[in-house]
Amino acid sequence: MKNSVSLAERHYTGNPQKNSPALGATMAYMGVDGLLALLHGSQGCSTFIRLQLSRHFKEPIPLNSTALLEETAIFGGWEHLKKGIAKAADKFKPRIIGVMSSGLTETFGDDMNSAWASLLQERPDLAATPVVLAQTPDYIGSLQEGYLRAVLALLETLASEPAPREAKTVALFPGAHFSPADVEELKEILDLFGFEPLSLPDISTSLDGHDELEPAPVVQGGISLSDIRRLPGCKAAFSFGPSMTGVGAALEKRHGVAHHQVDSLTGLEAVDAFILKLAELSEKPIPEKLLRQRSRLLDTMADYHDQLGTKRVVLALEADLLVALTGSLTEVGAIVQGALTASPLGLQAMPPGIPVAVGDLEHLEDIAAGSHLVIGNSNARQVAGPKKIPHLRAGLPVFDRVGIPQKVWVGYRGTQQFLIDVLNTMAK
């Protein structure tokens, strides 16, 4: 049994909530078509990340490695990175190369920009292959941070040039918490208003779990390079999740695309606000299909408010999903008894008055007592199981339930499904 060392005093992390930024960066890269993802680090990192993401998405994860070795640990990985990029470019002719660094290479301070510049001098023929460089040491932040850095690097590297202004295109920057089905749902909502959505990244066509893929070392599906280059010409941009606000802001700052921050796309009020904004932008009435979906959500809320109200919920999620689900739960009268998250990024958007801790799942154990529901990834079962608290799987990794990439959490439909899931999980 556990004795008591208070969270504030603790130095170690037990059953971490925090995950690796490089894994988050991999997720972002997996939403870009033709990209070759290259982890600059020991080969173990890439193998481990492939295993972790395959276990969650049930999909092959093409992630290559610069395969650093002991001698590199002495002399640094700069030359290895150059070799790795050149090898990957020569062998697979990818459309884009997306590099993320690791704790190892950041510790010895590899300057990836200068490595790439140096390689370009030696091999000017490689200039046709854009190389995206994201710094993702796993001692800074969690999954969200790595994802954010990769998306920012993609945007800054690939969409630096101005593009002709288009009336119908809208830039979408979904957070790391968006499932493939979430991205698809979001794009469908934009479609209904007559917009052409450009989502960076777009995992709805790469990690959606479809058949008939041939194995490949590069990403198949996702947003294309040419579409990324159209982002500076979009009519508007939306960032989803508080951690993502800098992405849309960067696009606005550089190219004057009007940016709208959407902290949450789960919960009636949150979706209403987004839909209203789209109606304004499109100058169109709200499509019947969405009104019907809203009406159905409202019906579910009315039918079950008494079974949701006063239910005490604890959540262990990274901030973007935490903010989204907290909002939805609060508006049906459930009580968020406590929340646990991996890092402070995005927490500014949490509604006031809800106790949030940055910590590990051992801390979740402390705050879960007496709750009716735990919402967290599969590892949270170590808390929920022994305490016999119903456990709704959310976040990443989820490896003990299936259909996770297919699940929708956003929009009216996703919110309705979330409430249904909450109720059915508690009913067991």
Partner: protein, 477 residues
Amino acid sequence: MGEKPNASMVEEVLSVYPEKARKLRAKHIVVKEEGSTCAIKANIKCVPGLMTARGCAYAGAKGVVWGPLKDMIHLSHGPVGCGYYSWGGRRNLTKGVVGVESFTPMQFTSDFSESDIVYGGDKKLEKVLREARELFPSVQGFSICSECPVGLIGDDIESVAKKMMKELDVPIVPVRCEGFRGISQSLGHHIANDAVRDHLLGKRERDDAGPYDISLIGDYNIGGDAWASKKILEEMGLRVRNVWTGDGTVEGMMAAHQVKLNLIHCYRSMNYICRHMEETYGIPWLEFNFFGPTKIKESIRKIAAQFDETIQRKGEEVIAKYEPLMRKVIDEYRPRLEGKRVMLYVGGLRPRHTIGAYEDLGMEVIGTGYEFAHKDDYDRTFPQMNNETIIYDDATEHELGEFIHRMRPDLVGSGIKEKYVFEKAGFPFRQMHSWDYSGPYHGYDGFPIFARDMDMAINSPTRTLAKAPWKKEKEVR
């Protein structure tokens, strides 16, 4: 195709490489011929910029060897990633209350922040050990599995371990398994073995040592494998004093120098410690194979031969006892699996050890290979293989894909990273690292499950449905 179709196929597959690479890779791929012995090149570093199935030293030391040892806390020392990655991926089952008797399902890390990188982590390590000891008073020891950055910043985990061992009064084992060491998880195994040797082995004496005491080595109890193996050994009258390391205990490891025989299943990951115990304590060691009734029978007799007649008689009784059950399994599944062709690409012992089990079911292994093997693994593999079998070392995605697409096996056995690639390509597939959430596959308990799983993969009705009827029609036209 000529007389040696597989050889020419290999040539073809490699022909896409530039000359230098072609020559290099050609040494890693061999087609077995009549009387040929191992000429394969193995345990060579990976090429930067490519994908590999290999892990790292940390994966081998913490993930494979130390992790399953249940009553210790294995601290992932460094940033959060490595520990998180290696958390619960291998289904090493343990008995006992989590957090009291078993820490294997949990994950402990010192969770380095930037300041730990800058200022060093030794002080933090001390605090972490002290806290964990206080929070989990029943813990029987710690391993400190160091991650890459720890090796760069000049931390002295050995000194911290020594100091804290005195303070906390439990074994504390520093394991220098930074991921950049070596070219695969294999060096991690070796490092882990050395750490066991230096910090646990021989540190304790039993007062009840007996003539039939053995250790079961290199069984990580994936899906309950070790329990299935142990059952046979105990029915033979042997006393399994410890399993290395599936569901194992610190106490068992410390007193392991007193056993009479070391039985080793996964040679790759644990041969080092066996050799050490042989040299230092004179304990003989024996490789065995508990996959499928033929190999189990052979192994029981080989093991029994190391002991007296009592054990030998009991060994025969065990064989006889399970014979009807095995017959029933074979009668049920062999007609459905006869002649089916298998290609394997895994780590550890499985590329060779499982062959007998497939053959018991009438199946044929037409290609096999290891992710991180050494030459001695291949030496052990060649005699098991039929002629024309392709044997590949550290295969690239290109090679593996080509071999499988050209040879069209009825079953592919590899890891989760390959699972979704080959399943999508329409090949029946089994994860042969973690048994695909199934298991055990070892012993008499495992074979019926093994047979059912292979049948399910190969004969699932799902396979015949993959092609849409409109495509079928087009082909007919």
